[in-house]
């Protein structure tokens, strides 16, 4: 138990550091949202109006320490103020709108890539000498080194534009009303194929290699040989005796991968105009929408920390050797 407590306190401290950093970030950088707003308006705004607008958005200078305190307060009350980009809508609302999609995209692709990768990794290490084990992993290493965006663009171009097989944008067909209907779910699935597909393509190799390395270490262990000597079926040996142990080191990597997956989703969302966090993050950055950027970073940090914590729990659960 003290193990978990210690981890928890670590996460909390890390969280504090992260959000403090989050606070400092915009204040260290040049330019403010109003400038950006001006750039976007390309001169259609009267300069005399700028200060008024600045005030409207709440960008008035003040004591940094006071700002910090009120920022902290806003973080813990989840009241992050209005977004600049979508003024006067609350950042919380904006984020709440896109977060589910990003979670769906990032976690969905992570899970699919994980399952596929682990399966392929297990198999390719079991049949290491065969064609599969010799060629599939290097091939995947190759595929996954296309940058996210390029993979996404290529898929977008070929499947969306050329073959017209799959939709080009959005999370679902705007003509359909969201709800628990087959039509809606189908539309969501159809719209997710390309963005998820590109993320899976890029992500899968990591798991193949992680799993393969872990498996190969485990396959040499005595307990696997013993399981074979016991006359168990090779399926049981592969999954219960070898895979079960090989998944352990892979489990720690999952938490880490969540950060990467979110990063990947930023890129893919932009390409596929997927209404997720990444999409608005990038727009928010361009617009210097600090409240929005801060909120999204906050969410990312919390997500990664939570994922790490869950991974810790998972590890404790998976590995009985860790003291409880």
């Amino acid at each position: 138990m003290s193990f978990l407590l210690r981890r928890l306190s670590f996460y909390f401290t890390a969280f504090l550091i992260a959000i403090s950093f989050n606070f400092m970030l915009p204040r260290m950088m040049p330019g403010d949202p109003i400038d950006a707003l001006f750039a976007a308006a390309q001169g259609k705004m009267d300069p005399a109006q700028m200060d008024a607008v600045r005030e409207m958005y709440g960008f008035v200078d003040g004591n940094v320490f006071e700002q910090y305190l009120s920022y902290m307060q806003s973080v813990f009350t989840l009241d992050l103020g209005p977004s600049v980009l979508m003024f006067p809508i609350d950042v919380t609302t904006v984020v709440g709108m896109s977060l589910p999609w990003t979670m769906f995209l990032a976690l969905g692709s992570l899970i699919v890539a994980l399952i596929l990768g682990v399966t392929i990794g297990t198999y390719s290490s079991y049949r290491r000498e065969g064609f599969f084990g010799q060629f599939v992993p290097p091939f995947l290493a190759f595929i996954s080194n296309f940058p996210y965006i390029v993979t996404a663009l290529l898929l977008f171009y070929f499947f969306g534009l050329q073959l017209e097989l799959l939709p080009l944008a959005y999370t679902y067909d705007p003509a359909i009303d969201p709800g628990f209907t087959l039509e809606f779910i189908g539309s969501v699935a159809k719209h997710a194929v390309l963005p998820m597909g590109s993320m899976i393509l890029v992500g899968i190799a990591t798991w193949v290699f992680n799993m393969r390395n872990a498996m190969i270490n485990v396959l040499g262990e005595d307990y696997v040989t013993m399981a074979e000597a016991k006359g168990l079926s090779s399926f049981r040996v592969m999954y219960r005796y070898a895979g079960r142990n090989a998944i352990l080191p892979v489990a720690t990597a999952i938490a880490m991968a969540i950060g990467f997956s979110f990063a990947g989703s930023i890129m893919t969302e932009v390409v596929f105009n997927y209404q997720g966090l990444g999409n608005i993050l990038l727009k928010g950055i361009m617009a210097r929408d600090y409240p929005l950027i801060q909120a999204i970073l906050l969410i990312l940090v919390s997500a990664v920390l939570t994922a790490n914590f869950v991974a810790d729990l998972l590890y404790v659960w998976l590995d009985p050797r860790i003291s409880k």
Partner: protein
């Protein structure tokens, strides 16, 4: 015989739609759609298209404007739209400076707005200003019976749920993050208008996504840069896919004349002569914009106002003539002293400067890249400097640049552009005034424009300003931007076009799009 019905689909570049129908904070999404303007100044035809207003008149001393509304106006909820609403709409922005789009209150020229009767609104000004009226369409006419209920301090964050407007489309059918639809206003003041039933906004990230949407026929009206449009868009359906790119704002290279060697007029001339504008337009901008050979600071957008004499007189300056440019530079004493292929100042220091351009504005970056190549031909070392917007912005305003690419103002009348260019009061405030060419006479000349309502006198002033600009050359003209306008006649017709240029087809201008929406109908 005009058919009623049909839906217009347009792309909106944003991060998704949210429930905010406040016209001042929703990024211009509803101007001319949900909210009808008082009038539209049509720069394409030179006419004033009266919308809610029936007329607008200046008093003799140019200190009073009397606006008369049409008969029988009503809000979409059926309540009458009166002069009181209009007066309220203008007064409201006094308490909310952020809404004061043209700073009519903040800069103090507007004294009062009053509704003298149900149809008449009177604007009283402190000083005579014949240009004041051009700012009126920027203010949204809002129903007093709704907006007066909102406290002044809450106005900026007021999201105006269940909006009531006077525009052609006021019925919000649905709003999803990626798409929203507005349908016709049953109480629209024009009979049978709009012809179309609904307008659908689709959200896109950027041009690169609008392009495939256009190609696949998902949208009817594009206002975006589309690469290689003939092949990618028109070719997919030549009968219905069209584009028309009339000239828009003029793009110049701004030169800081306070610094050597740009303080030498001949050097500026040489830098202008070194450029092959046709080629730049052709390569860097796919040939869509029009090269600008007018050294007078304005371009095709202001066509009727351009002085032919001035253009002719200074046409050599804008003609591609590297040999002449070299001669001028030689004469200016900029010679290659150390034989590295680049010219040096008389003190032996190489002439080398950066051309500022905003990071990410790729069309301009390409233009500037080409410019540097041309300058290299005449032995001038120029570098492309891509900077963040904030840096670019303050550079122009604080005159902290040697050369910077920039656009001129799009306004109802070129005088506004000249105001921004030369008024001493604009130094440090506008991007256009940092070049260092100013004089009290010019200030006076510009100010005199607003004191008259006589078109001929005004033109004379403009001619003089053009002459002054061309003679001093603080801007090296490059080209007129294109007005990006792609349209599909697959479903709807009535678009403005080269053949029927009834308005400049700018989606992002509420008044102009209002005219177009009113003109579109089923095929």
């Amino acid at each position: 015989e005009i058919k009623q019905g049909g839906t217009l689909t347009v792309p909106i570049i944003n991060t998704g739609f949210v429930e905010n129908f406040n016209p001042y904070t929703s990024g211009g999404l509803f101007e001319g759609v949900l909210y009808e303007p008082l009038m539209v100044f049509n720069n394409m035809t030179g006419n004033v298209e009266y919308r809610l207003a029936e007329s607008a008149e200046y008093s003799q001393d140019l200190k009073t404007i009397t606006v008369k509304l049409r008969d029988g106006l009503s809000w979409s909820d059926g309540k009458a739209l009166t002069a009181k609403d209009v007066a309220f709409s203008f007064t409201m922005t006094k308490a909310t400076p952020a809404f004061d789009q043209k700073a009519i209150w903040t800069t103090g020229n507007l004294q009062s707005v009053t509704a003298t009767d149900a149809k008449t609104i009177v604007f009283k000004l402190n000083n005579a200003d014949s240009t004041f009226i051009w700012g009126l369409p920027k203010y949204h006419i809002l129903p007093e019976h709704i907006w007066s209920k909102v406290a002044d301090k809450d106005l900026p964050t007021f999201t105006n749920p269940n909006p009531v407007g006077s525009g052609p489309m006021t019925d919000i059918k649905y709003l999803k993050p990626q798409q929203m639809q507005l349908c016709r206003n049953a109480n629209y003041y024009l009979p049978n208008r709009p012809y179309i039933d609904c307008i659908t906004f689709r959200s896109y990230n950027d041009n690169s996504q609008v392009q495939p949407a256009l190609m696949k026929g998902e949208i009817d009206w594009g206002s975006n840069f589309i690469a290689d449009i003939d092949n990618t868009f028109v070719a997919t359906d030549p009968k219905n896919n069209h584009y028309w790119y009339p000239a828009n704002d003029a793009i110049h290279l701004y030169v800081n004349t306070k610094e050597a060697p740009f303080d030498d007029l001949n050097v500026r001339k040489a830098l202008s002569m070194a450029l092959d504008r046709e080629e730049i337009v052709d390569i860097a901008a796919y040939g869509y914009p029009t090269a600008n050979f007018n050294a007078a600071g304005i371009a095709e957008l202001y066509g009727p106002y351009i002085s032919k004499d001035v253009t002719a007189k200074y046409k050599d300056i804008t003609k591609f003539n590297p040999e002449k440019a070299k001669q001028l530079l030689d004469a200016a004493g900029l010679k290659d002293l150390d034989g590295d292929g680049f010219r040096d100042m008389t003190d032996g220091k190489r002439v080398e400067f950066d051309i500022n351009v905003v990071n990410g504005w790729t069309d301009w970056i390409q233009v500037v890249q080409m410019v540097t190549e041309y300058y290299e031909e005449i032995g001038i070392k120029a570098n492309v400097k891509t900077v963040d917007w904030a840096v670019y912005d303050s550079g122009l305003k604080d005159s902290d640049y040697k050369m910077s690419i920039n656009w001129s103002m799009v306004a109802t009348n070129p005088i506004e552009a000249y105001q921004a260019y030369f008024s001493t009061s604009q130094i440090g405030k506008s991007w256009h005034a940092g070049h260092g060419v100013h004089s009290p006479e010019i200030d006076a000349l510009i100010d005199s424009f607003g004191l008259t309502n006589d078109a001929q006198k005004q033109q004379a002033i403009l001619d003089e300003l053009q002459e002054f600009t061309a003679a001093n050359l603080p801007f090296i003209p490059l080209f007129s931007n294109a007005t990006w306008f792609q349209y599909s006649t697959a479903k709807l017709v009535g678009w403005p076009s080269k053949e029927n240029p009834y308005v400049q087809p700018v989606w992002y201008d509420g008044g102009k799009r209002n005219l177009i929406i009113n003109n579109l109908h089923l095929k």
